[in-house]
Amino acid sequence: MSKLMIINCAADTSMHDGVEKRFHDSEVLASSVKKGWEAGSCIAHIHAPPTNYEAWENHTKAIRDCCPVMLQYGISTQTLEQRREVVKFQPEMMSVAVGAHNMAFLQGDVMMLHPRDEIADMMKLCADYNVKPEFEVFSIGELWMINDLLEKDLIKTPVLMTVFFGRPGGAWSPATMKEFLHRVSALPEDSIYITSVTGNTHLNLETMAVMEGGHVRVGTEDEPFLTPGVFGDNPDHVNRIANIAKLLGREIASVDEAKAMIGL
């Protein structure tokens, strides 16, 4: 088990009712990302409107100007063409959905199919730009798809994935410790998994990830509340899980250490 633990900060605030949306402005986003990095995160998972390429460029520049954090573009619903437009800004990682999107968000349901030939093209795009794909794993079925990519030699190990719990909709899974252990025990060897949880139990599962040798994604996108009703900003979430990890014998990976682990 790796002593070093990666913290990914999902810095958005768009998914939850009653939480102010702050990140239409690149400087505001960069400021929150920087505070997360200072607290221990080595990856920032960010968003911008899919076809507002200027916003992607501005977000990227603003963050690069203020801290060395790795950028993970949260573009799992973006088409290949939209990805081609933003990959030029050279993020370290981009999100790739390997199962159909089937989410019930507050703003409306997000439904999208992801055919295997499209995923294969995305893998070529990633290889061409030296961008690491971050696979989204909502259920064990997505592991079949990842295995298919491995067998076709379309991806390199270690496989980087985010395992999700508690997101509403047909891609839901219970945010329970039992489900966490069930999923994690099914992951391929040579994978690096980062745990993302929505709901009141998020800290329990994140702590499980600390103990099981996994990695953690926290932030206002996934679950903005530290405890029910108590809003936490990105550095608050990062700080708390970093402290728990240290108490349990893990060390927080720096940007360079995480790059080496991920194979960048």
Partner: protein, 217 residues
């Protein structure tokens, strides 16, 4: 399958064995197709609780199923006296089912088929561990049948029998009787399950008994 095949197929089955319950396997079919064949009055018909994400031998099968579409399908069946058989490939599908239950659209008991080992983004391991994990999350008052692709299907069906579940076997799900040996026919696969369930103290339900169990009129 062409839409106009459903009627001769249904008639042929009804003639050959008038009593058997017919379940239309139309999970991937949209609402317009369903509207055209619902008058054939199958006892049950399939509804997918999440988008189709299959990697079959011939080609991938990807079909989106929004909540609105699922709701419309349920209403169509309710209006026509067809009992929905819900397909559950993973726990996420239970979220959609719960949503239907909260809207009071589904009568109890909920009839579910839980699937294992089907290739694609819908896959789940055809293991006893996965089976027990799934069963534990099913809503109360659900009647579930287990369908598994792969030779471990016999083990999974046996656990379903022990756990109070029901069984779906046949050449669609797993055509091999044992490794490398194709089943002679569906009867051979069904007969094995009958023997196993009797040994384990459960009786295969008759058609009339099945209607009671599933809450069919």
């Amino acid at each position: 399958m062409q839409l106009d095949s459903w009627e001769p197929f249904t008639n042929a089955v009804r003639e050959a064995c008038p009593e058997i319950l017919i379940q239309f396997g139309i999970a991937a079919m949209g609402l317009p197709g369903r509207k055209k064949i619902v008058h054939l009055k199958p006892d049950m018909a399939s509804i997918a609780l999440g988008s189709h994400d299959f990697a079959f031998v011939d080609a991938d099968l990807l079909v989106e199923h929004s909540r609105q579409e699922i709701e419309d399908q349920v209403r169509l069946f309710n209006d026509n006296g067809v009992h929905p058989e819900f397909e559950c490939f993973n726990l996420g599908h239970l979220w959609n089912l719960e949503w239907l239950l909260e809207k009071d659209l589904v009568k109890n008991p909920v009839v579910l088929t839980i699937f294992f080992g089907w290739p694609g983004g819908f896959w789940s391991p055809a293991t006893l561990k996965e089976l027990l994990h799934r069963i534990e999350h099913l809503p109360k008052n659900s009647v579930f049948s287990v369908s598994a692709a792969g030779l471990s299907n016999v083990a999974l069906e046996t656990v379903s029998i022990i756990q109070g579940g029901h069984v779906r076997v046949g050449t669609e799900d797993e055509p091999y009787y044992t490794k490398g040996v194709l089943a002679e026919d569906n009867a051979q696969l069904v007969s094995r399950m009958v023997r196993i369930s009797k040994e384990l103290g459960r009786e295969p339900a008759t058609v009339e008994e099945t209607k009671q169990i599933l809450g069919l009129n």
